[in-house]
Symmetry: C2
Subunit: 122 residues, 2 copies
């Protein structure tokens, strides 16, 4: 059974997005560090974050007049909400980001899809 409410709540929570920004930058940086074999720190762009949201088929959860920034925030909110609800760990997040052969940008879509699936089961 699929329950859309936890996702709807998460992605409309503006405060979650700012914590989510810190979460996403951290796990993405860890993934690049693991891939490249030396430490890296990055700020994941709104382009990457918003694209993942669209490609995960989650656009329906947001209303009209939505900016790229809103879609990026929604990705950040959903991911950190899943982390706080113990549906995702840091280790698993890094693993998912790393294991897509097309790289962590494609891995972000996998991670978001996984988080959304687990949220829908709540």
């Amino acid at each position: 059974m699929s329950n859309p409410e936890p996702i709807r709540r998460a992605i409309r929570d503006k405060e979650l997005a700012s914590l989510g920004d810190a979460f996403v930058n951290f796990v993405y940086s860890l993934a690049l560090t693991q891939r490249d074999g030396h430490p890296k720190g990055v700020k994941v762009s709104d382009r990457i974050l918003s694209e993942a949201f669209r490609l995960a088929g989650l656009r329906q959860y947001l209303g009209t007049r939505i900016s790229k920034k809103d879609l990026a925030n929604a990705t950040e909110s959903l991911l950190v909400d899943a982390y706080r609800k113990q549906l995702l760990t840091i280790e698993e997040s890094v693993k998912v980001l790393c294991q897509n052969p097309d790289g962590p940008e494609a891995g972000l879509l996998d991670l978001l899809t996984l988080a959304a699936e687990r949220m829908e089961r709540l």
Copy 2:
């Protein structure tokens, strides 16, 4: 027995500082979120990071002509190196940041001191 080498190596590694930035912002944001009861995301300032480094008595590990930014980077490098070496977890870091009655800024000094003590035992 106190071994200064792991600390020396960590704080001179510029690449570690950029990953450390993501680590520190994440655990500090989680600590503020826990303290305030609602999600927060922050970028910890160089002032806070450099002050912690000085107060932890670690200034001796760096050379002369050191800027505030260098001290801040050293805090970030040391903390994330301790995390990567499994001397600190996310959960413990957040707990230490939260438990100082003077707030997470004072808690950061506790966390840095703890990380340095454990690094010195390597």
